[in-house]
Each structure stands twice: as structure tokens, then as C-alpha cells.
């Protein structure tokens, strides 16, 4: 084997490591350095992402790229870096504290399987803030915040991420000589890899719990947690899979361009309210109608209101058409108001009660309306929809309204339907148009 080009990835240019004497973090960083020397990756292609805490002080002692972010969020920066530049080797150093506050990122990194290596410097407490308990503090242990012994259960980080789908999981004691090799394996694993490394916080955890190296080994047995390589399996790496999917994805949907092909006789902004039920394709009908207006040279706005639970209750669309740019899009005084379901009526009940005399109110003949000043026309929308198709009631009502109002040519609506709706839908909606128009001749009789 040729001599390594990179003899160390660490530097003492900024002085010695800042940790307390005997702190496990120091040994861990040196093992990481040994692992990097074994890997011989170009330092410009390596990113050490560090979390907050004493372990987070590590970033500036590396000559590789270093990214020191917020407490618990280091996996999120690592994910962004790796997805943006798949050629990077991304290694995260996080304390047990970070595993708590950033628990959701830990679970989701395991599930997502982006090719990141996470090394948890697990010293069973928050070193930096004075030795408070963390998610890994053993039951009964004494910390600054568990003065009478920890009542909470310690989290088994490895079992947790394994349960979340992690593809490579290792646990070991920081004193083991093979740690650099284990780190190398973790980095080489094509997916999310986690090393839970148990170590000592000599300033807080050790003295408070009369701990030493031997106790650390005993803890393995006491905890019942497994050590060694615990998971090693393959699952497609997220980034690679995403890129594969992307290359299969169809080209981007183009926007429908609405070239004017018809004329209109509208002199002012006109507000139209269409009130029906979820599942009646109200939004779609209102959209096709608005686009028909645009084909006639009009400006349009459309706003839809429906419950969060989209498959039940009302669906109300508000459409404005105007010969000039539409500024104010709320419809305080509607010109046309269409209601064809109980849900739609319930939602617009109060509104109907306040409609101006100038408003043409077209409703399904089965509905019991509140008192209104609007010009009321009752039509068998529901019956017509039963014949043509349940989902076409909006088009039926709008075609009737358009025939009555002559806002713009009926041909524009037909063009909008045939041009912008899928052919199967368009076929039904053309019939719906005919039915709607016929309703108007009937009332004229």
C-alpha cells in the first residue's frame, strides 16, 4: 500500500483540544481522525457536522470542512449538504443531548436513509451545561437535575433507530481499539449509519456517580443493551433513489395559455358565487368557467372555500369577471348566486338573506330558501345532473346562468371545457352545458 497522502485530518493550530482531562470526547475525536486517515478522502470532500455541547467544540480542530449548527439539528444540515452534493462524505458528531432535543431528526434520518454517518458521543449527561440528565442517563443515576436519582428510563439509541429503519447500527465503548475501523465501516455503508459510543464525562457524570472505566463496561451488562454491530442491511439510499425517480418523472406540466378567441359585453366587475357540496367538482367547474371568461378577453379571479375535511360538507367558489384588472376580489354584493345543494345553502344562508335586488339567484328547485331580495329563479339542477352525471351539476348551473346573463358567449365555455378538461370529462360536460342551456329555454316558455 502506498503511503497515505493525508496523515491527519486534525490540526493543533488553534491549540490543544478544549476538553476536561480524561474526557471521552478527546479519545473519540482522535479515533475519528484515525478513521479518516484510513479512508484518505480529500478533506475538501469531507464535512464534519457538529451538534451543540462539549462535543460541538470539535469542529474547529479538523482541517476538513466543518459545520457547527444548532442544538439537536445537526442531522438536518447533514441531510441538506448530502442531498445537494452527493459526492460529499458527511459525518455528524452529536451528544446524547442532541439525541433528545433532536429526537425526531434521529428517527427520520434513520427512516430516510440518506448516506450520513452519525457518531453519538454518549456520556449520559449534558456536559456543557453542567451535567444535567439526558435521554440516555441510566435509571437511578445522579445528575444536576436528578439529585435523588434518575426516575426516567434510559433510551436505547440503537434499538430506537433500528426500530425506525436504520440500515447500519453499532454500539461500542469509547476505549475499544477497533473504533476507527468501525467508523470506517459506518462511513462506507451506503446509507444512514449510527455509532453509539459510550464514554466518560470526567467533570460531571463520573464524580457524581463514582464512575470509572470499569463501571462503563459494567453498564453494558446492567443496561441490558446490546453492543457491537447490531444492524447491517441494505435499503436504497434516499438521494440515489430520489435521483433515479426524478429521471423517470414526466416533464413539467405546462400552464394553459388562454388566448382570447371571443368577445364579451361586460362593462364592470361582476361577482358570481357558486355554492354546492364537496364532491360536486365545484372548484373545477368554477375554474373552467373563469377560463372561459378569459378566453373572451375578461380578467378573472377565483377563490374556493371548503372544509378541511375535503370530502364532506360545502364547496363554495367565488368568481369575479371584469373587463379591467381585478383589484378587490371579495364579493360583497354578488351579481349572480348559484345554489344547488343543502351544504351550499347552509354555508351561504346568511349571505342569501342579504343579497341585493340586483342579484340573480338561481337555485335548485328542491331547496327551501330563506327570505331574500334577490331575483329568484328556481331550476331543476339536481334532476338534470341525475340525467347527465352527478359531477356535472356545476357546469349545468353555470351554463344556465351564462345563457340567462350573456356575460360572454356560450361558445367560450364550450371551448374551455373541450380544450382544458380531459376528453372523457369534457364529453360529459358538453352534454351538461346543453342541459343547462335547455333549462333556460324552458323557463322562458
Amino acid at each position: 500500500m502506498s503511503a497515505p497522502i493525508y496523515k491527519s485530518y486534525m490540526t493543533d493550530a488553534l491549540g490543544p483540544l478544549p476538553f476536561c482531562p480524561g474526557c471521552g470526547h478527546e479519545r473519540l475525536l482522535k479515533d475519528l481522525d484515525r478513521a479518516l486517515v484510513k479512508l484518505q478522502t480529500d478533506p475538501a470532500k469531507v464535512v464534519i457536522v457538529t451538534d451543540i455541547g462539549c462535543i460541538g467544540l470539535a469542529d474547529r480542530y479538523f482541517v476538513a470542512n466543518a459545520f457547527h449548527g444548532l442544538h439537536g439539528r445537526s442531522l438536518t444540515y447533514a441531510t441538506g449538504l448530502k442531498l445537494a452534493r452527493p459526492e460529499l462524505t458527511v459525518i455528524v458528531l452529536m451528544g446524547d443531548g442532541g439525541c433528545g432535543i433532536g429526537g425526531t431528526h434521529l428517527l427520520n434520518a434513520a427512516r430516510r436513509n440518506v448516506d450520513i454517518t452519525l457518531i453519538v458521543a454518549n456520556n449520559f449527561n449534558y456536559g456543557m451545561t453542567g451535567g444535567q440528565h439526558s435521554v440516555t442517563t441510566p435509571g437511578g443515576a445522579f445528575t444536576a437535575t436528578t439529585p435523588a436519582g434518575n426516575i426516567e428510563a434510559a433510551m436505547d439509541i440503537c434499538a430506537t433507530v433500528a426500530g425506525a429503519g436504520a440500515t447500519w447500527v453499532y454500539r461500542g465503548i469509547g476505549y475499544e481499539n477497533d473504533l476507527p475501523d468501525r467508523i470506517v465501516e459506518g462511513v462506507r455503508h451506503p446509507g444512514f449509519a449510527l455509532l453509539d459510543v459510550w464514554e466518560l464525562c470526567t467533570a460531571y457524570y463520573m464524580p457524581r456517580n463514582q464512575y470509572n472505566k470499569k463501571e462503563l463496561y459494567n453498564l453494558v451488562e446492567k443496561s441490558g443493551f446490546e453492543t457491537g454491530l447490531l444492524v447491517n442491511k441494505t435499503r436504497p439510499e434516499f438521494g440515489a433513489e430520489y435521483r433515479k425517480q426524478s429521471s423517470h418523472l414526466a416533464a413539467v406540466r405546462q400552464l394553459d395559455i388562454l388566448e382570447q378567441g371571443f368577445d364579451h359585453a361586460l362593462e364592470r366587475q361582476t361577482g358570481i358565487v357558486i355554492a354546492g357540496s364537496a364532491g360536486q367538482k365545484i372548484r373545477s367547474a368554477a375554474g373552467i368557467f373563469s377560463m372561459a371568461g378569459m378566453l373572451s378577453g375578461l380578467h378573472a379571479t377565483q377563490k374556493d372555500d371548503y372544509p378541511i375535511t375535503v370530502m364532506t360538507g360545502h364547496s363554495v367558489s367565488e368568481v369575479n369577471l371584469s373587463p379591467t384588472r381585478i383589484e378587490y376580489s371579495a364579493i360583497d354584493s354578488p351579481d349572480y348566486f348559484l345554489v344547488f345543494s343543502e351544504d351550499g345553502l347552509k354555508k351561504t344562508h346568511t349571505w342569501i338573506g342579504k343579497l341585493p335586488t340586483t342579484c340573480l339567484l338561481m337555485v335548485d328547485e328542491e331547496l327551501a330558501l330563506p327570505d331574500t331580495n334577490a331575483h329568484l329563479v328556481k331550476l331543476p339542477f339536481g334532476q338534470a345532473a341525475k340525467d347527465v352525471g352527478r359531477l356535472s351539476i356545476g357546469i349545468i348551473a353555470l351554463a344556465a346562468m351564462l345563457k340567462q346573463s350573456e356575460l360572454f358567449p356560450l361558445a367560450a365555455l364550450r371551448t374551455s371545457i373541450t380544450r382544458y378538461q380531459p376528453s372523457a370529462v369534457a364529453e360529459i360536460n358538453c352534454k351538461a352545458m346543453d342541459r343547462g342551456m335547455a333549462l333556460i329555454s324552458r323557463t322562458d316558455d
Binding site: F67, L70, L83, A84, S290, D304
Partner: protein, 374 residues
């Protein structure tokens, strides 16, 4: 005319693609969710990455990582999500990270009315993170403006290495309207100034405080560092008060220096008008109607519509205030931007707010009546 019928959210997504966006991460929230949806649809075909994160904190984290690795990045949410973005916005500021953050405002506080409109996050945008550094916030009034301002937001983010807010609202985000996107003149895309490959590199290098440091992406030619802690120009932790203050002054200076240059506004001044209406966002459209109605009635009135809300375009506001007796500031909040106007208006000018947060739009009639102009 090449009219299309789109809502503000899609306009933002399409604008982002025009701007060269290469990364998007977001977490679903009404009324911003469809931006995530559109980006998932549009980005892959444009060589980018879009994904749903596990929460808003992760959305920001992904974006910051990707932005520092060289991608133009964007995220989108609404008020509750901005609360969770807060800490990471501070990180983006101190790390000098280019990033576009869309806030499709909805009625708040808290969960509020999830599907209803308001523009209640105005001062929240300005003071969004601890430490109180200046923010840039652009506010469009329509789908067309949302398209254009998205490109401008990316340009400012890349030019200045800062997070930039694009503040829209449910009313703009989810209202479809006819717009001719091709007729909108977009500015040329701005790319971040990258450090030359051969030169030594410091991630936060500047001589004058307002200077924007050259950047070298993670994975680029230089070994680089990024930190949330107070740092020096090399990007290393420092506790030297002089250096710390120098960096703070730098974050402020680079935005202050461009205040006038990045002031975007529309002005409709009437000779001799003693009344001025200052507005922004969707409310400005009601103002446009109110102004023409008032003028038809023979009442003289001027209007200043701001698209850049922060840094406050003080020069233009002050000049618009000249000779004015009364300023109306209609807002879909309880008077947030009015604070800025009150601070800038001479004491003899009466500053009147027209405010509500009942989820409905402020109408032209309300502006005229509540403003005492009827």
C-alpha cells in the same frame, strides 16, 4: 397576451424555477402546502431536489445545508411554521446563508383560522429571531407580483448572503387570477459571488462592514467552516468583544447599505393631496379601488404601495409624507406597519390605522369610511 390562470403559490414556485432554485424543503401547512406540492412537481425536471421534511425545523436545516453546499434554496410555511424557523433564521444570518423563506400568512396567533387570511406577521418578520438583526422582507400584492418578487428575493439572498422573507398571505397564495406571466419583466438572475479557486479563503471576509464576503460552497475548492457561535472572519469561534462587535456591525451594515437600492414600491401621487394612504400586500388592491373612487368624488388622495417592507424604505416614505396632513395605514393586522410610519411622520401629521383581523379582506368602502374620507 398570454394569460394564465394561477394562484400566488404556483406563481412563487414558477418564479423560483426561473430564479434557478435548486433545493426546496417544506412541511405541509395551509395555506402554504401547495408550494411544497408545486416544487415537488417542478424541481426534479429542473435538476433540483424537493422534499417534505419531518417538521419546520428540519425544513430550515435541510435548506441551510443545501444552500451552503451551493444550491439556491427556498422553503415555505405559514405563521406557526415561522415560529419554528426562528432559531435557524438566526443561524442563517450569522452563517451568511442565502435563502428564500416564504410566509403565506394566515390568521393567527397560534393555529388561528388555518384556511383564512390575515397579514399579521409583519413585525414578526422583522424581529423573527433572537439578537434582533435586520431582515429583508418583500410583500407582493398579486400572483404576478409574487412571481416577480420571488426572483428578486432569490437575487437579494444570493447577492447579500442573507435569508430573505417573501411575505404573502392566504388571499394571494390561494386566489387564482388571470395574469400574463410573460409580460412581467423579470430581473436577470444573480449568482452568489464565489471566492476564486486559487486564493486563500475566509468564509466571512470583508474590509468594509457593508461588504458581502465571497463564498465558497461546501464541496467546492476550499475547505470551509460554518458556525452558529460568535466567530471571526475565518469562521472560528471567538470571544473577542472587538471581533464580535465587528461581525454584528457587518450583519447590519450590509443590509442598511442597500436600503434605498432595494426599495420596491408603487407610487400614485396626486398634486396637492393632503391625504396619503400607505399600504402593502393584498390590502393595497383595496386601496387602489378606494383611491379611484375618492378621486371620482373629487377628493384628492395619494397612494404609496410598498413591496419592500424591510428594511423600511424610509427615503421614499419620508418623501411621500411631504406636504401631507393625514396618512392612512390600512392593514390586515392591528397596526403593525403603522408603527414604522408613526416613527417617520412629522408630529403634525395625523397617522390613522384601518385595521381588522376577522379573516375578511378590508374593503375599499371600509378604507374610505374608517379613514374618515367619506
Amino acid at each position: 397576451m398570454a394569460q394564465v390562470f394561477i394562484d400566488g403559490n404556483e406563481a412563487i414556485a414558477r418564479g423560483a424555477i426561473k430564479a434557478g432554485c435548486g433545493f426546496f424543503a417544506g412541511y405541509p401547512i395551509t395555506p402554504a402546502s401547495t408550494i411544497l406540492q408545486y416544487m415537488l412537481e417542478l424541481l426534479p425536471a429542473n435538476g433540483g431536489v424537493a422534499l417534505q421534511a419531518e417538521d419546520e425545523i428540519a425544513s430550515m436545516g435541510f435548506c441551510i445545508g443545501a444552500a451552503m453546499a451551493g444550491r439556491k434554496a427556498m422553503t415555505a410555511t405559514s405563521g406557526p411554521g415561522i415560529s419554528l424557523y426562528s432559531e435557524n433564521i438566526g443561524l442563517a444570518i450569522v452563517g451568511e446563508t442565502p435563502l428564500v423563506i416564504v410566509n403565506v400568512q394566515r390568521q393567527g396567533p397560534a393555529t388561528g383560522s388555518a384556511t383564512k387570511g390575515a397579514e399579521g406577521d409583519i413585525q414578526f418578520s422583522r424581529w423573527v429571531t433572537s439578537g434582533g438583526m435586520p431582515m429583508i422582507a418583500l410583500s407582493p400584492a398579486s400572483a404576478g407580483e409574487a412571481y416577480e418578487l420571488t426572483v428578486r428575493a432569490f437575487n437579494l439572498a444570493e447577492q447579500l448572503r442573507v435569508p430573505v422573507f417573501l411575505l404573502t398571505s392566504k388571499e394571494i397564495g390561494l386566489t387564482r387570477e388571470s395574469v400574463d406571466l410573460d409580460a412581467i419583466e423579470l430581473p436577470a438572475n444573480v449568482e452568489r459571488c464565489r471566492a476564486p479557486e486559487t486564493a486563500d479563503y475566509q468564509p466571512h471576509d470583508f474590509e468594509l462592514p457593508a461588504q458581502v464576503p465571497l463564498i465558497s460552497d461546501f464541496g467546492g475548492p476550499h475547505v470551509t467552516q460554518y458556525t452558529t457561535s460568535t466567530h471571526n472572519k475565518e469562521g472560528y469561534l471567538t470571544s473577542d468583544p472587538e471581533v464580535i462587535q465587528e461581525m454584528i456591525d457587518h450583519y447590519i451594515a450590509k443590509i442598511e447599505a442597500v436600503t434605498d437600492a432595494i426599495a420596491l414600491y408603487r407610487q400614485d401621487m396626486e398634486q396637492g393631496a393632503k391625504v396619503l394612504i400607505i399600504s402593502y400586500g393584498v390590502v393595497s388592491r383595496s386601496v387602489n379601488v378606494a383611491v379611484s373612487e375618492l378621486r371620482q368624488r373629487g377628493i384628492k388622495v395619494s397612494s404609496l404601495v410598498l413591496q419592500t417592507l424591510f428594511p423600511v424604505p424610509e427615503t421614499i416614505i419620508k418623501s411621500a409624507l411631504t406636504g401631507v396632513r393625514k396618512v392612512l395605514v390600512p392593514e390586515m393586522n392591528m397596526g403593525q406597519y403603522r408603527l414604522e410610519i408613526e416613527r417617520l411622520a412629522a408630529s403634525e401629521i395625523e397617522v390613522v390605522g384601518v385595521n381588522k383581523m376577522d379573516t375578511t379582506l378590508i374593503s375599499p368602502a371600509e378604507i374610505i369610511a374608517k379613514g374618515g374620507l367619506a
